[in-house]
Every structure is written in structure tokens, then in C-alpha cells.
């Protein structure tokens, strides 16, 4: 190959990359502005917005101390504590970018889910620093798409696949996952050079515990006053967590909680009392794919809770460290990563229905929107069960299928609007 060819090829590639960045930034700016423009934004939300701006607009890496290696993780089954203990920082890389999705569309089969397509797109274009700077990728084998993603990534990047058991009631399944975590920890040691020790693990657990303490405080606050913050704002907070060192996130979360507490004391709510309270569940909602939460709040509903893995569930389950030894902590981590997880890739998932029922009670929910990303089969399967159970409780539920593009926004708008009207009228007629 001669030199000119190389330059021409290189420049074409560069042009493609530049085009990608321009488009991607444009989408991110648009959605960040929409989030920003929603009324009743708490002041303490600003740091979280800045984090999203830094990652998606300024195209910089994750928010962390200089020189700290990052590990890309893909599902909630990867215990963050283990990565922090190894002296690295976990970054959740599940993608929500429409631009990356378009690239991934050519790599993955038509029916693959857009989330995985977006990740493959990011990998293929190779311009997002958050993706590029990762020293290791940790992909739990959950659904079929993630399984193929693990294969795709392992050919291109140093990758660890974590074999998540498909059932959880047997002790042997959990012990198998403990072994996986030991192997994962060994890989982490190879990357960072930090040996696993009880002290480091305990410190890391303390760090995430502080974050979960603040998150629990937030949940308590919202349980008391479901309308104190817009759900979209909260989704932004949880998305920002994916790219932030947990200690910093905790500090900002504490400030947010303090502000919300003050607001509750003053009786200052983010929405009017009579707005329909809606819970969102189903496939993950990853920035910048915020069209659904934004639509709900634009159409006069209030998003009071979410049961999605980029939302509350992402950091909800704490490890119950019963045995204060390395093995004890590992068991606790394996336990909390698999057993309480409501991911539909597990064989038996009655707990998800119960979890949603509990959230309905906690946040006084009036309607449930079931979000399905096109091609996300496992979530689609569970819709039937949930619809049946919610029917018994007389809570309306709709299934909303969407893809990573803006073509279906208007169609979604009509459906969401109709659903919110339905709740409003249902409320009035029952009065």
C-alpha cells in the first residue's frame, strides 16, 4: 500500500470520525438542554449535568483522579467494589447514543437490541474517550446480545466475561459466581498490579456504602414526597454515576439530598399534586436516549420511580457483609450481584413483579410505562406477567417499544399522552 493511499484512507476515516463526533455532540446537546429546561431543577443537579457535558459534549474521559485506570462494565452484575479495591474505577458503558447505534447497525444483525448496537458502534468508531481509555472490559453473560457483545469485544480489547448463573435459588449457582469473581479479581490484579486484600476490599465497600447510604436517603425522601424532584432529573443523576468516581458522586448526591430535604421542609414540590404519577420499568434508559422520561414529564405526568438498570437499580442493592473476611466479602458481592437482581435474563423472576408492586406502594404510583427497546426479547417476555399482576391491582400499564432514533418520538408522544389522559380521567371518574 503506498503512502497516498494511506493518507486518503486515513483522512476518510478521520472525516468519518469528525462526522460522528459532530452528530453525537449535537444529539447530546439537545437532550441536555431539554433536561436543563425542565422546570424546578434543583441547584445541586448542576454537577451531574456537568459530568454528562464533560463526557458527551467535551469528549473527555471519566471523572476520576489522574492516572487511575478504568474498567468498562456492562451490567449491574459486575460488583464495583471489586474494581475500586483493585485501584481502578468502573465505568458503565451501556450505550444510548443514536449516532453510535447507526454505526453498530451495520455490524450487528437487524434484530439485535439498539443498546448493544450502540456499544459496538462506539467500539468500531473508537473516538469516545470513556470507551477508549478502558484498560479492561468486564462483560457479564446475561442476554444473548450481551453474550455476542462479549465475543465481539474480546477480539478487540482485553475482556473478561463473567458467567452469570441463570438461576439463583441453588447455592451452587452462587458459589460458581464467587469463583467467577475471584477470576475477575485476578485479571484486575494483572491490569492494575494491586493485590486483593481485606483492607482494600473493606475500604472499597465503605466507599460504595457511603454512596448507597445517600441513595437510600434519596429513596426515603422520595418515599415521603414522591413529587420533590422530576424523574428525568433523577435519571440524569443516575446516568452521571456511570462515569464518576463513586466518592465524588456521593459528595454531590449528599448536596442534592440536603437540598431536597430543605425543599420538602418548605413544601416546595417539583410538580403539582394532581399530576399522574408514573413508574417506568423495562429496558434501560441510557443517556442520551432520554426521550421517554422527557415525554412523560412534557405531557403532564410525573416520573416518580424507575425500575431500570441504569436507574435506581444500578446501585440499589447493598452487599450484606456478614463475614468479615476476603471470602465473606466476595460471597456478599456475588450474592448482591445476582440474587436480588431483577434482570429478566434469569430463569425465575417473580421477584421483579414483587419489586414493582412494592414500588407502586412506596411511590403511590398510578400508572406503569413498560419500556421495551426493539429487540430486547427478555424484557418483552415479562410484560405479559406484569400486565396480569397489575391488572389485579387495577393499575394501568402500557408497553412502549422504541428504538435508538428520533423517528418514533411523535408516535410515542401520542401514546404517552393518551395514557396520561387515561389516568387523569380514570381518577376523575372514580371520584
Amino acid at each position: 500500500m503506498n503512502e497516498i493511499d494511506q493518507i486518503r484512507k486515513g483522512s476518510a476515516e478521520d472525516r468519518r470520525k469528525q462526522r460522528f463526533i459532530n452528530k453525537s455532540v449535537a444529539v447530546s446537546v439537545k437532550y441536555l438542554r431539554k433536561i436543563d429546561e425542565l422546570p424546578h431543577k434543583p441547584d445541586a443537579l448542576e454537577p451531574f449535568m456537568n459530568i454528562l457535558r464533560r463526557v458527551f459534549i467535551d469528549m473527555q474521559g471519566a471523572v476520576k483522579p489522574d492516572g487511575m485506570p478504568t474498567v468498562g462494565t456492562y451490567c449491574v452484575m459486575v460488583p464495583q467494589e471489586l474494581i475500586y479495591a483493585a485501584g481502578a474505577m468502573p465505568v458503565k458503558l451501556c450505550g444510548g447514543s443514536y449516532t453510535a447505534f447507526n454505526i453498530g447497525d451495520d455490524i450487528a444483525p437487524r434484530d439485535a437490541c439498539p443498546l448493544v448496537k450502540a456499544v459496538m458502534g462506539f467500539q468500531s468508531i473508537g473516538v469516545m474517550p470513556v470507551y477508549q481509555e478502558c484498560s479492561l472490559m468486564a462483560v457479564p453473560v446475561t442476554c444473548d446480545c450481551k453474550k455476542k457483545l462479549a465475543g465481539y469485544l474480546s477480539e478487540r480489547r482485553p475482556t473478561v466475561t463473567l458467567h452469570v448463573p441463570s438461576g439463583r435459588d441453588r447455592d451452587a449457582d452462587m458459589e460458581q459466581y464467587v469463583r467467577e469473581l475471584y477470576l475477575f479479581s485476578r485479571r484486575l490484579t494483572e491490569v492494575t498490579g494491586v493485590e486483593l486484600s481485606y483492607e482494600r476490599l473493606s475500604r472499597a465497600c465503605g466507599m460504595t456504602a457511603a454512596a448507597q447510604y445517600e441513595l437510600s436517603r434519596f429513596i426515603e425522601l422520595r418515599r415521603r414526597a414522591p413529587l420533590v424532584i422530576k424523574g428525568t432529573h433523577y435519571m440524569a443523576v443516575m446516568n452521571a454515576m456511570s462515569y464518576t468516581h463513586i466518592a465524588l458522586w456521593t459528595r454531590y448526591m449528599k448536596a442534592l439530598n440536603d437540598e431536597l430535604e430543605e425543599k420538602i421542609r418548605r413544601g416546595e414540590m417539583a410538580s403539582k399534586e394532581n399530576r399522574p404519577r408514573i413508574l417506568i420499568t423495562g429496558s434501560p434508559i441510557v443517556f442520551p436516549n432520554f426521550k421517554l422520561p422527557l415525554l412523560i414529564e412534557e405531557m403532564g405526568g410525573v416520573l416518580v420511580g424507575d425500575e431500570t438498570c441504569m436507574g435506581e437499580r444500578g446501585a440499589y442493592d447493598p452487599p450484606a457483609i456478614v463475614d468479615q473476611s476476603v471470602d465473606g466479602v466476595m460471597r456478599a458481592l456475588a450474592n448482591k450481584s445476582t440474587r436480588p437482581c431483577t434482570c429478566p435474563t434469569f430463569v425465575d423472576n417473580k421477584r421483579r413483579v414483587y419489586r414493582i408492586m412494592q414500588m407502586l406502594k412506596d411511590y403511590q404510583v398510578q400508572g406503569v410505562i413498560y419500556h421495551v427497546l426493539r429487540g430486547c426479547l427478555v424484557y418483552d417476555y415479562e410484560y405479559q406477567v406484569l400486565e396480569e399482576e397489575l391488572g389485579k391491582l387495577k393499575i394501568p400499564v402500557i408497553r412502549v417499544e422504541s428504538d435508538y432514533n428520533e423517528e418514533d418520538v411523535e408516535q410515542l408522544r401520542i401514546r404517552v399522552e393518551a395514557f396520561i389522559e387515561l389516568i387523569k380521567y380514570g381518577k376523575e371518574s372514580s371520584r
Binding site: E46, P47, N50, I51, R53, D58, V63, K64, P65, D66, R170, D171, A172, M174, E175, Y182, L183, S185, R186, E195, L196, S197, Y198, E199, S202, R203, C205, G206, A209, A210, Q212, Y213, S216, R217, E220, H245, A247, L248, T250, R251, D317, P318, A320, V322, D323, Q324, S325, V326, D327, G328, R331, A332, N335, K336, R339, P340, R351, Y354, R355, Q358
Partner: protein, 592 residues
Amino acid sequence: MKNKTAGRILFAVFAVVLCVAAYFAADLAFFQYDDPLERASLSVVNDGEALSFTYDNDAITLHAGENTTVYALTTGGVTVVENSYTESLPANFRGSFAAVRTDVSADTNGDGVAENVTAIAKTDMEYTQGYSATANAFLSGEIPFEVVYADRERFTVYYRSQPLENAEITVTLADGTTKSVVTDENGDITELNLNDVRNGLTFTYRPDPQNTYQINYQVEADTIFTARWFSAMLPFGIIILVSAVCITLDVLLRKRLYKNEKMPVGKTSVTARDKRKKRFVFGFETIRWGVMILSFALLIFGSRLTGTVFSNVELPTFACPYNLDQLTSAGCYYLSHLDVLFSESWVQILAFFGTFLVCAVLLGRVLCGFVCPLGFMQDVAHEARQALHIEGVSLNERLYAVLRMVKWVMLIIFLGIGFVGGSFCDFCPAMAVSPALAGFKLSLGLGGFVMVIVLVSGFFKRRCFCNVCPLGFILGLTHKISLFKLKKDAVACTECGACYEACPMGIKSIFTVREGKGDIRKIDVTTSDCIMCGECVRRCPENNALSVTFCGKKIYSADRMKFMKHYAPPKTKYDLELPEGMPDMTGGKDRE
């Protein structure tokens, strides 16, 4: 399949060996003291002190004057002791001595006229004491006035070998205080404090103005932190030492094994230290430890602390009945010696089962979690491991299945051994703890070895013995009608399995139960294994998902914020613990 059969055969062999060992438990000695008579000595000194017996470790000294005759109770009746026994006492002695001195005349009542004083001293060695209605009595003509200490709570006063009814007796305690008591129609005095008895006391009786009878009574006193107590603690000390050695060996062996198998790093880090201070959160756990420490003290030193013994309360815990100082007597004795129980009267049998049933229904296995001294010992061992951050054994269904099988073998041994001529006490680990701590010298049979196993297994797996405890199993049988219940809200539960991990008894149903009779928000998940330790509730991160109820009222419920407080650092520490070089993201919208 082959593996399973081999496992079964192995277990059958183990069960048979265990049963045979339990039968010969008394012969498989862990620590053997000499017979009390063999190690004791008796010397008579004339040092001018009042006529009395004193004890120094195993040596008995009689402080005598002129014209003193010493008597000993033997299997053949009362004999006169002519010389000192400096090495040991003859085997036919029954552990009771008396000395009489008749030549004294003194004015004891202060009326200016001297009376004839008959000074007597009596002592009973420790091993003669017990909760039996009959005690060693001389009742001989040479000893005109005598007190007999029976059942560790009453003195029967004899005057010329006849019970002295409705007579006024002056009792002088060791510190010099006197009090006047009147014997009842059987000649009994019951109002004396056990601690006063332990210190020695003098009874004075004046039948007429010319004669005074004085008897100084002393039981073999066992005081804590004396040479005598330390020698009683010797076997227990050996047990702890052996356990520590076993644990160290185990840890070293495991370290080596992991190294050879190239197990992932970290699994063997034994000496890891965590200097972070744990936040103290007051809760159910604190109360449980409080109750456990209190009941441990009471069940071991109870009568020493309070001065009384509730000998008719038979608390079904492994507080050893050989320890005579505990507050109540232990129900384990009759249950493991059913042959003895059935030879008692009907009233006795009914009374025993009555109190047992009341205990079982009112408290059930709460006794295991809060009261049992053996359980406390295991919890202490577990806490020691927590402090050292040594890894334990992996808890899983397989382990619990084996433990359940062992429990059946233990139950058969517990209930049946008495009928074939053995005694469960020789096999029982509790015998090594409670009497030793109270200062009773007890030779240990196989029980000493069992105690080592209890401590070592309790170190690596919390409350391991409780999983195979036959007494606990019997207590748990009434869990359906017990007043304490564990309730689960299946909707609030996320099935995170923390309760199952935390449960020292390995109750899995608490985590897997999803449906139950009636309200799914109030499923009764109490099982016969549950010891109500509240660990599951403490480790439960969901509000009200688990709760302990008493008579249907919630007394302890899971609380997410409380759970978080348990392991999150104090709120003020967030700012301090930020790693260096962290960017600041709080900047305003200056970028626009």
C-alpha cells in the same frame, strides 16, 4: 451416584463410631482429676483459733485445741480420726468431718455466769454437695448438736440425733453479724443466703442456762481467682489451647493448599487488618449480646451473685447441672437421663414436662439464641474470627444437609444413651465449660474433645454445634405454637439472600419462600431451627421485609437506613475520604 453411595456408607460408619464413642465416653478421658478423697489431705493444728475447718486448695485444716476429738463419716459409720492424713484420705471416707471439744466453759450469753460450752465444727467436701434431699449426717451420740446442709438451700438442725423443732437458734456469720432464727416443724432453717454459707457460719443453741452448743459449719469453698479456681480451670484452659492450635494448623494448611492449587489471590490473606473504625449502632443485636452476657453470668455464677438458687426451675439449656452455683438447674439432665426421670414419681415427671413445655412454648429456641452458655461460647469464637478476618467455611446446602444428619445421630444418643447404660454427660461439651468457670473440679471424658470440636467448628462456622444440638431440636419442635415468630413480607423482599447468608442455622426457606397461607405480606417463616438471633433482620436491607414478632406484635423490623448505617462510614467522612487528584465538577454553566 457412586459418590453418593460412598458418602452414605462413610456417614453410617461415622454415626456408628460416634454412638460407640458416646457409650464409652467416660473411659475416653480428656482430663482426669484424682478422686476428691485421693487428692485431699487433712491436718490438725493447734493454733489458738476457734474450732473450725479451713480449706486451702485441696488441703483441709482443722484448727483445734486441747481435748478435741475428730470424727469422720465413713461408709461403715462414724469413726474417730486418730492421725493426720497428709497425702490423701482413705477411700471409705464420705467427705464429711466433725470435731468436738467439750472442756470449755465460758460466759457466752453475758449474764455473768459461765456455762458449759460444747464447741463443734463440721465440714462437708464439695463433692458431697448437690441438689439431693439427703445429705451427709453423723447423727451419732458423740456429736450432740449437728446441722445438716441439704439441697444447697436448707439446714436441718439435730439435737441428740433428733430434729430440733421450733427452737431458737443464733446464727453468727463470718463477718460477725448475728441473727436469730427459729426452726420449723421439721427442724429446718431455710432463710440463709448461699454466700453466707460459703463463707462459713456458726450456729448457737442454748437448751438451758447451763449448756451452750456451738457448731461451726464450713463447706468446701471455691472462690474465683484463687489457686483452687485456676486448678479447676486447667482442663478448660487446655481445651482453649488445643482449639487455638487446631485453628492455626487449619489456617496454615489451607494457605498451603490454595498455594498449590493456584487459587486466586486474596483468598488466603489471613492477617489482613482493617483499621477503619466501625460505627456502633444500637439495636436488637446489642440487646441480644447484653442478655447473653447476663445469662452467661447468671447461669454460671448465678447463686454466687444473687445468693439464691431456683433449683426447681429446670431451664432447658446446656448450662451444666454439675455446676452447683448456677441460678437454675438445667433441664438437659433429665432429658438425657430419661431412665432416671422415669424412675421418679409421677408428680416429678409431670412437673418436669410441665416446666419444659412452658419454657418451650413461651421462649422456644429463643433460649438457644439468648440464654444458652454454650451458644455464647460459640458466638465469642465467631467474633474472634471476625476480628482476625480469617475466612470461614463456605456455607451451602450440602454442609447443612450433613449437619442435619449429624443432628439425628446426636438426638438418638441424647435420648437413648441412658437406657443402654451410658451417660450423655460424659459426652456433653457443656460439662467442660460451666463447672470449670464456677470452680468445680470435674474430670472430663469424651466431652473435652467434643468441646474442642465445638470451639473450632464454631470458629469457622458460626454456631456450628447449635445445628446439631439435640436439646435445641427438641425445643424447636413447638415452634408452631411458640409466641416468638419470624414474619416475612414477600413483596418487600428482594430475595437478595442476605438473610440466608447471615443465618447461623442455615435456614434457606426464609429467603426462598414466596407464597404462604393468607397475606403474602405476613408470611410466617419460623422454622424449628430458628434461634431468634435476629441476624437475618439485621442484615435485611428492605424496610419491614423481615420482622420478629412477639404475640403478633412486631418487636424488631428490618430497616434500610439502619442497615446502611451499619456499614457506611459516618456522613462527615465523605469529604475527607476523597482520593487525591479528583476533578471538581461543581462549576456553573460558564461553558455556554
